[in-house]
Symmetry: C2
Subunit: 138 residues, 2 copies
DNA sequence: AGATCGATGAGAACGCTTGTCAACTCGCCG
DNA sequence: CGGCGAGTTGACAAGCGTTCTCATCGATCT
């Protein structure tokens, strides 16, 4: 269903696969955890693949809309992005070093669905993030 | 342990109970859900209790540090505050009309604590919001 | 190759938040 | 009871992340 790479543009209609978009997508793929737009922008510069900051933002939004990346807000309010894997999951994030652990919780999924149904809500989605201090940082 | 009102300043050493702080604290108490600093600032103005924006921010930080309010980030990255009620709960929000239902989930609390512990994380907090379309809107 | 239209980049603009600093208040001591 | 000092305030500027603007560029189609 999802063949991870090379489907950056095909999703949205009037969208083109440009050098910049590929570059952003690649950098994104090279990380497991969340990165801010600015961080990605800097990294691209260091890699020689200079891409305008505005373009980085635009591309990330595009990818987010297409459901290819997860967007989160750090506790400082910065938007952070990460390529999302096919499976729906949540994150356990270290406040101090940013280390991220993916966690799954069928129980939680069922619980949210149940609660929503109980109140007559439909078309449900939810966000769940767990923050803490990882063993290495405490 | 927590006697809700009137302990805005006694917590922190060199801290005084001023008109402004009381005003912010009161406005905060008059809501059950999260409000942004700017919103609180505007509300104070309407109430006739004008308080400088910077002071609102400072007071909210103070209260947050003292553990009297919860701070969260809206999806737009705005910091939102809520008086830390005794009961921890989550929200079921209608995407269309904004209606909010407070929900509690002991199971979820236990689950997050468990997951975190399992990975050696400490000092845990979490955010969980459920979005959907309410009966009236669908 | 030429035309068309989305994409890009540089910089300005914007909104939220924090810092600065002089004026002010509150609580306290003499 | 008056004055002192430390905490507090408010207006404004600065900082930062993000979005917008617009002229230019480049990809796709004919």
């Amino acid at each position: 269903m999802t063949d991870s790479t090379a489907r950056v543009s095909p999703g949205v209609p009037g969208t083109r696969p440009t050098r910049q978009r590929r570059a952003v997508s690649e950098v994104l793929s090279s990380f497991e955890d969340f990165r801010s737009a600015q961080e990605i922008h800097t990294l691209l510069g260091q890699r020689g693949e200079s891409v305008g900051l505005a373009t980085v933002y635009r591309t990330l939004q595009l990818l987010a809309d297409a459901g290819e990346v997860d967007v989160l807000r750090s506790e400082e309010g910065e938007a952070i992005y990460r390529r999302c894997s096919a499976t729906h999951h949540h994150h356990l994030v270290c406040r101090s070093c940013g280390a991220t652990v993916e966690v799954e919780g069928p129980a939680v999924e069922r619980w949210t669905a149940g609660i929503a149904a109980e109140h007559g809500f439909s078309d449900i989605s939810h966000t769940l993030e767990i923050f803490g201090t990882c063993p290495a940082c405490s």
